[in-house]
């Protein structure tokens, strides 16, 4: 890869170890030769037995796979984390304010700070949400912010996930597996716990129940079913929170209220944590061919009889094209400068930008505006000339369909691979809960590109995960 060598989170250029990793370094030195290999296979057994799997669409190797787990934790100091969480909190506050505005008075459009066309003509904009007032004014309750690091102080937000971010169960199970295979490592240092997440998720969901619910609100997790790639996570979270895990067929709407079909008859549901996309949520409001959703649930939501978490239409705030305006959005609503940086992004509809992109595509990353999961993207430096040309043609044909960014030298962490311990590129997705207050779990999901030199960390593209440690002071 061109450019300077990437930031190594464990080792400085002179080979010395960075402060947060000192204890790990010592521990690794003490491990006998085969120990790490044994731990890795123990960890795999744990995951397989627990059935912690995900599905890869279009894969022939059966519907369930394990995400590779790397046994070397990624470590972040308390000071580094405090900075990050401030930036994250600022960001989710501003994005929720933006959503409220977009679905009410649209002041930011009137002020010309964000182009009207970009919002109103966007397929992620949900006109059905206009004028609707969700409980506590919160739209996106559960958020995953994807961060990458390029230097000791240099973090960038790669994207915001405001719809139905997944992966939180891996954050929890990675910790569980780590505790099982290397308990002695935890005794030497103070790692902030992540297992507060399910309880905090429950509190968050209860705090946004519709006004007028008597007693403890009844929660349901709405899943597309066992063939969904994240089904394990849906059942895991429902279980951890003590909520009912429902499929669309388990719920029905009568007189504007939502009920679950139980063995003793209908039971009123107050809050639905839905893991079904907007389009499939309600065949009466959105896609009429949806078999996954609950007919009439959107009307019940409009009537204020049930809370949908996250609200429909939050995708307008994590659209890749809207992403470039987030610093503006933060300034507009909070009157503050953004604490976390955006990755500089080229807008291919602008002549100058497009010219630059077409000439330098071999150094750039091209992403589809509505793509996700690492599909439909080009990483210039690791692609062939033919692939460059294909993407040039795509951009010329539909410049508004792509955003382009410089190739970031993602930081690396030591990772246990076939050849031993070697640096591999990582990113980080912390999880944020927004309800009566903002709760950020100290940790997150570290995804690691297991192939040497690869910058694509998505599990669907051969990425793995690591336990992520936030050290306590």
């Amino acid at each position: 890869m061109p450019g300077p060598s990437p930031f190594n989170e464990m080792r400085n250029a002179d080979g010395s170890v960075r402060e947060p990793y000192m204890i790990l370094e010592q521990w690794l030195k003490e491990q006998p030769a085969e120990a790490l290999g044994l731990m890795a296979s123990d960890a795999e057994d744990i995951f397989r037995r627990l059935g912690i799997t995900f599905a890869v669409y279009g894969s022939n190797e059966g519907t369930e796979k394990l995400i590779p787990f790397d046994i070397i934790p990624r470590i972040i100091s308390a000071i580094e984390w405090r900075k990050l969480s401030k930036g994250i909190e600022q960001r989710v506050r501003a994005l929720n304010a933006f959503l409220h505005d977009i679905y009410h008075r649209q002041e930011i459009l009137k002020a010309g700070r964000v182009p009207e066309k970009l919002i109103l003509n966007n397929s992620a904009f949900c006109p059905q949400m206009m004028g609707l007032d969700p409980a506590r004014g919160v739209y996106s309750h559960i958020i995953g912010v994807d961060l990458v690091r390029v230097g000791p102080e240099d973090w960038y937000v790669l994207e915001d996930n405001l719809r139905t971010p997944s992966g939180v169960s891996y954050m929890l199970e990675d910790r569980e597996a780590m505790l099982q295979i290397a308990p002695d490592l935890f005794q030497r240092t103070k790692v902030a716990p992540v297992d507060t997440y399910p309880e905090n998720l429950r509190r968050t969901l209860e705090s946004v129940a519709p006004p007028g619910v008597n007693g403890t609100p009844t929660l349901a997790v709405l899943t597309p079913g066992i063939y969904n790639s994240a089904y394990f996570e849906h059942s895991f979270l429902a279980d951890q929170m003590g909520a009912e895990l429902c499929e669309g067929q388990d719920l029905f709407v009568e007189n504007g209220k939502v009920y679950a079909r139980t063995t003793t008859g209908p039971r009123r549901i107050d809050v639905i944590y839905r893991r079904i996309d907007d389009d499939f949520l309600d065949p009466l409001t959105f896609r009429p061919d949806s078999m996954l959703g609950v007919p009439g649930v959107f009307d019940a939501y409009r009537a204020g009889n049930v809370t949908l978490v996250n609200a429909p239409g939050t995708g307008i705030a994590d659209d890749k094209a809207v992403y470039t305006y987030v610093p503006e959005i933060i300034e507009f609503y909070l009157g503050e400068k953004a604490l976390l940086k955006n990755v500089p992004t080229y807008n291919c509809t602008k002549d100058d930008d497009r010219k630059y992109v077409l000439e330098n595509i071999h150094e750039l990353v091209v992403k589809e505006v509505h793509g996700s999961g690492g599909y439909g993207m080009l990483v210039g430096p690791t692609s062939t000339k033919e692939q460059h040309e294909i993407f040039r043609q795509k951009i010329i044909a539909r410049p508004d369909n792509y955003i382009v960014q410089p190739t970031l030298a993602l930081s690396t962490c030591p990772t246990f691979v076939d050849s031993g311990i070697a640096p591999r590129h990582v990113d980080l997705r912390p999880y944020v809960l927004v309800g009566d207050q903002i709760r950020i779990t100290p940790g997150g999901l570290t995804r690691v590109a297991l192939k040497e030199g690869s910058l694509v960390v998505n599990s669907s593209q051969g990425g793995g995960t690591k336990d992520t440690w936030i050290l306590e002071d």
Partner: protein
């Protein structure tokens, strides 16, 4: 509890029990075929076993010859046979995945590991002694699941649905095992029984893991009358019809307590109970053993339908 969850728990237990029973049935057919001296008897025994499992027609549509290899393939590994061990284990695990939150992790893990182990088996390697080993393994899967259930499952409505499913399936199967060879159990003038009879009686008892406990209960040699009595009317025999129905009734009472009322399930179970309680082998034989068993299987099926209706299975 969601009606779908109740339904899944009910069927999950049924499938595990069915996997065990398919292994038991096949083992009987297989052992009978191994020890038959008569020409063509191998096929006869296997076919009557297939008939007892009510899959004889499906089998005939796929295979010309009822030899051990074909029948083993069909009963153990065939994806198109809904009662094969493979289909049962997969259905159990799929049901378990749907209701994971309602299961304890021990229950889930027992099913998940079972499926992963089974899926790794190459059917071509399952011959000779490996075949009996595999059949034993299938039974162990069921014991592991049931052990996990009894040791870790909260005694609530979910437990009740699981138990009812379990014993409805077991009762169905015991009735089918008896029906498979009902004619060797009929009272005859020849009270002693020839070698062939003795052998078949042994196998019927073995299918119910009852060939040794029989001695403790009857202190006597094998007799057709006793064997039928043992598997139908003995309350202490854990695979007898009366025992199964007793569990169903007690578990329904538990549901009544939890939900504060009886359901159509109670009425349907009472119909089954009426065939057993206060009945005697004299009267059953007078009615006709085959007719009795056919009637029992039908009434037992009604329990499932009544449960589905009363507790919103869908």
């Amino acid at each position: 509890m969601l009606g779908r969850t109740a339904q899944n728990l009910f069927w999950l237990s049924r499938y595990v029990e069915r996997a065990e029973n398919m292994a038991r049935l096949f083992e009987v057919g297989y052992r009978m075929s191994l020890t038959s001296r008569r020409e063509g008897a191998t096929s006869d025994h296997l076919v009557s076993m297939l008939r007892a499992a009510e899959v004889d027609e499906d089998f005939a549509a796929k295979h010309k010859v009822a030899d051990v290899a074909n029948v083993a393939q069909f009963m153990l590994f065939d994806e198109t046979n809904p009662s094969s061990v493979r289909s049962c284990l997969l259905a159990a695990r799929t049901n378990a995945r749907s209701v994971r939150t309602a299961l304890t992790s021990d229950m889930w893990q027992s099913l998940n590991s079972a499926w992963l182990e089974f899926a790794a088996i190459d059917p071509r390697n399952i011959t000779g002694s490996r075949l009996l080993e595999l059949l034993q393994w299938v039974k162990t899967v069921s014991y592991r699941y049931r052990g996990a259930l009894l040791s870790t499952f909260l005694r609530d409505d979910g437990y009740a649905f699981s138990q009812i499913g379990n014993f409805v399936e077991r009762a169905d199967n015991t009735a089918r095992i008896l029906d498979m060879k009902y004619y060797v159990l009929l009272p005859r003038t020849d009270l002693i029984g020839g070698d062939v009879d003795i052998q078949q009686w042994t196998l019927i008892l073995r299918a119910a893991s009852a060939h040794r406990s029989y001695r403790h209960v009857y202190h006597d040699r094998y007799k057709a009358w006793n064997i039928a009595d043992y598997l139908i009317l003995r309350p202490e025999m854990p695979r007898s019809l009366l025992f199964c129905v007793g569990w169903i009734n007690r578990t329904l009472d538990m549901l009544e307590e939890i939900y504060g009322g009886k359901s159509a399930g109670h009425a349907a179970a009472a119909e089954v109970t009426a065939m057993l309680e206060g009945n005697s082998m004299d009267r059953i034989f007078a009615y006709g053993l085959h007719e009795f068993l056919t009637e029992f299987i039908a009434r037992n099926n009604n329990v499932t339908e009544a449960m589905a209706e009363s507790y919103n299975f869908y």
